[in-house]
């Protein structure tokens, strides 16, 4: 076992997008129970450092697998499909149009202080995102259509960011 092993191997999981989150939680805790710095608080410096590195690594691996978008990106990365989020920003016109409409709706609701509308937008978008993760699971786990999956992941990055903005707007209205 070393830092080069992939995150699925670290937790003893099959390499797949579909994942039992509570199972991941319990595996993560079992690993931390062994490597966490609290187990080595009174140990020598070399051991303390090693423990910190392992615990850091386990935290990072857990975070990557826990969030579906990060998990999908990571799976594609393991298979040599990088998302190229920064260098490749070209998206189909109709998707971008749709995004503009969403953003306008969010801005209107925020400027109008319309809490109810923002919650409605949040729920609608959440539903849309969940359906897209279902599709992504099929592309990654069932049909192995990685190129198509890469495209879907890039769309989801836009949508997750938008959802985040809606939540920020909701938060600022509550304050």
């Amino acid at each position: 076992m070393d830092f080069r092993a992939d995150h699925f191997t670290l937790f003893g999981l099959d390499r797949a997008f579909r994942l039992d989150l509570s199972d991941l939680d319990s595996r993560y805790r079992d690993i931390q129970a062994q490597v966490h710095p609290d187990r080595f608080a009174n140990a020598g410096e070399a051991e303390r450092r090693l423990s910190m590195q392992w615990a850091t690594h386990a935290n990072e691996a857990y975070l990557t697998l826990k969030k579906p978008l990060e998990r999908a990106k990571y799976l594609l990365h393991l298979d040599g499909h990088d998302i190229q989020a920064e260098s490749n920003t070209a998206m189909p016109g109709d998707f971008l149009m749709e995004q503009m409409e969403w953003r306008e709706a969010v801005m209107d609701a925020r400027n109008g202080g319309d809490h109810h509308e923002l919650e409605h937008l949040h729920n609608r978008l959440r539903g849309d995102i969940n359906a897209r993760y279902q599709e992504l699971a099929e592309l990654l786990d069932d049909t192995g259509s990685l190129t198509l999956a890469t495209d879907r992941v890039r769309r989801l990055m836009f949508l997750e960011k938008l959802l985040h903005e809606i939540d920020d707007a909701l938060a600022s209205l509550e304050e």
């Binding site: 076992m1 070393d2 830092f3 080069r4 092993a5 191997t9 937790f11 003893g12 595996r27 805790r29 079992d30 690993i31 931390q32 129970a33 062994q34 490597v35 966490h36 710095p37 609290d38 187990r39 080595f40 608080a41 009174n42 140990a43 020598g44 410096e45 070399a46 051991e47 090693l50 423990s51 910190m52 590195q53 392992w54 615990a55 850091t56 935290n59 990072e60 857990y62 975070l63 939540d167 938060a171 509550e174 304050e175």
Partner: protein, 626 residues
């Protein structure tokens, strides 16, 4: 220095005696020390049976100090040399401190952290805090009758890096081996959770003398997981006293107050506040040095009214912490109240209204943090039996980031990340031929660097000249289990390595600590050299015991040559321990550390593999070292 002490639940790695460990709640108003005795956490009292130590230090001209109740009674007589609520100054510049105008001290602005000029010279908040810690350490040593292995010191969860580092420095200065800095609400959750076998999501509302924290924790069998935390590190019970003082001045309109009168009135205000916990009306009388007589009555309704804004100021972070945890008020199973200030009825009512449930007040709000810290300290030194073992997963309270173009913050590690954590970010050069780059590390949530707390600024030199945008500079942030940050940067395209690790600038250097230690020891007529030698011998002994226990437990992880080499190194170390040369002991310890490194890796691998094989997974490779 122990090797990995990993034991199966229910079985201990080596027969060991009970190690002396303590938990310290270093509070704004009061501090406490606790330990675990016969499996039960207890606060240690002074010779008069008082568990609290007022966090007050008075300096005398001969550099001697009074700490606690003695100092507290002198505060109105000698306010300039009697430092109260020093926690508010830890890791803070003058501009960060509120109500400076009503404080009697002679402040000196120093880089990173304010200092106070006293009759015994200029004192940093770290030194003042160290006096409080020393007093508690002495109390513990007297009560436990032996050398302490280590201490867990609590800090407000919302303390930033500067405040944490200052606290750790103070503990080192007091001669304590810091096992861990533990967040106060987390410590309270441990005490509460273990006592009540609590399961579910809990909120800890911790209003101390000078700081406010809210933490949301998930308690499951054997795991305390902090989901989010928030707070205000400059809001506490002191501010309620200050509100009363403002009200008194408004009502009585006295002439401008002298420092002595200011302190006297502040004490009266605090007494009135405490009186109102169980009474409808509090008398507030004082005779000032000007001959003026203050004679007022403060009722509960007025008190609630003048402190209303302070209470809503605590509810903002509560809402934010819930949002960060992805929860609503109704998801919270219980609200644990911590800190003496939560005795105020208007606070209990506001918190109860917000969470729509009676807050849990069955714990002593003054003691619960120290008790939790002692329990954790006991676990960290390895005094455990099979059943009381738990895992604590805590977070950092504030995002960490870097300054980018235009004075904007680029977040590298977001708030509420589980620690320890590390994150790397790549940056590039802005100009052709640029060979140096300034890296400015900040902490906070705001977009503008000027609105965040500046932690450190350092220059990465020796970048090979390249066209703009060609260099790749990787900046790595590492936050350890104490919530403390270190930063490393390195240019990686050319193999020319320019790497630097910084400790944020406000932290004291090892030399400064050594200097202060020396001063304080000379003052105490203590023999610093002998003490250091004794410490080294104890450390070496611990290391030998742990190594031998590990070899006994996992002999199959070493080949004959390695076993022989380790045994030989142990023998050498044991030999140096007979002498009185600390340097030789340290060198021999380093050697043993080096010789057992591969063994340590293998033991760690083995323990991780055990977790996985328990789950019947067959494709785990092993043997390679990280």
């Amino acid at each position: 220095m122990a090797l990995f002490q990993i034991a199966e639940p229910g079985e201990s790695a080596a027969p060991h005696e009970h190690k002396l460990a303590i938990g310290i709640d270093l509070g704004t108003t009061n501090s406490l020390v606790a330990t675990v005795r016969s499996g039960i956490a207890i606060c240690l009292s002074d010779e008069h049976g008082r568990p609290l130590l007022p966090s007050v230090v008075r300096y005398h001209a001969d550099n001697s100090t009074e700490v606690g109740y003695d100092a507290q009674t002198k505060q109105a007589v000698d306010p300039r040399n009697t430092i109260i609520s020093v926690k508010r100054f830890m890791g803070r510049g003058l501009k960060d401190i509120s109500h400076v105008e009503s404080m009697p001290y002679d402040f000196i602005e120093a880089p990173g952290m304010v200092k106070v000029k006293t009759i015994a010279g200029i004192k940093s908040p770290v030194e003042v805090s160290a006096e409080i810690l020393k007093s508690l350490k002495g109390r513990a040593e007297a009560a436990l009758g032996g050398d302490l292995v280590g201490a867990v010191i609590t800090v407000p969860a919302y303390f930033d890096d500067a405040q944490r580092q200052a606290t750790k420095d103070a503990a080192r200065l007091a001669g304590l081996n810091v096992l861990r800095l533990l967040n106060e609400p987390t410590a309270a959750a441990i005490a509460y959770g273990l006592d009540n076998a609590a399961e579910g999501v809990y909120a800890v509302y911790d209003l101390g003398g000078g700081t406010f924290d809210i933490s949301i924790l998930k308690l499951t069998k054997g795991v305390f997981e902090v989901m989010s935390t928030g707070g205000d590190s400059a809001l506490g019970g002191d501010d309620f006293d200050h509100r009363i003082l403002c009200w008194v001045i408004e009502q009585a309109k006295p002439q401008p107050l002298s420092p002595e009168d200011g302190r006297l009135l502040m004490m009266r205000c605090r007494e009135a506040k405490e009186f109102l916990t169980n009474n409808a009306e509090a008398p507030l009388t004082a005779r000032l040095s000007t001959g003026e007589m203050i004679d007022l009555k403060l009722d509960v309704a007025t008190f609630a009214e003048i402190t209303q804004t302070l209470i809503s100021k605590t509810l903002q972070p509560v809402k934010k912490a819930l949002r960060d945890a992805g929860l609503r008020a109704e998801d919270i199973k219980g609200v644990v109240m911590v800190g003496g200030a939560t005795r105020m009825p208007q606070i209990q009512k506001a918190v109860g209204d917000f969470f729509r449930q009676e807050p849990l007040t069955n714990l002593d709000p003054d003691k619960v943090v120290a008790l939790g810290a002692a329990t954790q300290a006991n676990l960290l030194v390895g005094n455990k039996t099979g059943k009381d073992d738990w895992l604590l997963l805590d977070v950092i309270p504030l995002s960490l980031g870097l300054e980018t173009m235009g004075g904007l913050t680029e977040k590298v590690i977001p708030r509420n990340s589980t620690i320890p954590t590390a994150r790397a970010q790549e940056f590039t050069t802005f100009k052709d031929g640029q060979t140096a780059m300034t890296i400015h590390v900040v902490q906070g949530e705001r977009e503008l660097v000027s609105d965040c707390r500046s932690l450190a600024s350092f220059e990465l030199r020796g970048i090979p000249p390249m066209v703009a945008g060609a260099a790749r500079i990787r900046v790595t942030f590492q936050v350890d289990a104490d919530g403390l940050l270190s930063v490393a940067a390195r240019e990686q395209t050319t193999g020319v390595e320019a790497s630097v690790t910084v400790k944020p600038s406000y932290g004291l250097s090892d030399d400064e600590i050594a200097g202060m230690l020396k001063d304080s020891m000379e003052h105490a007529k203590d023999d610093a050299i002998n003490r250091a030698l004794k410490e080294a011998i104890v450390e070496a002994q611990r290391m030998i015991e742990a190594t031998e226990a590990a070899m006994k437990e996992d002999p199959h992880l070493l080949n004959e040559a390695e076993t022989a080499k380790i045994k030989e190194t142990i023998a050498k170390l044991a030999e140096t321990m007979q002498g009185d040369n600390r340097r030789l002991i340290n060198i021999a310890m380093d050697d043993l550390g080096y010789e057992t490194q591969a063994f340590a890796h293998r033991r760690m691998d083995q323990s991780i593999k055990k977790v996985l094989s328990g789950r019947k997974v067959d494709d785990i490779k092993m043997g390679e070292e990280a």
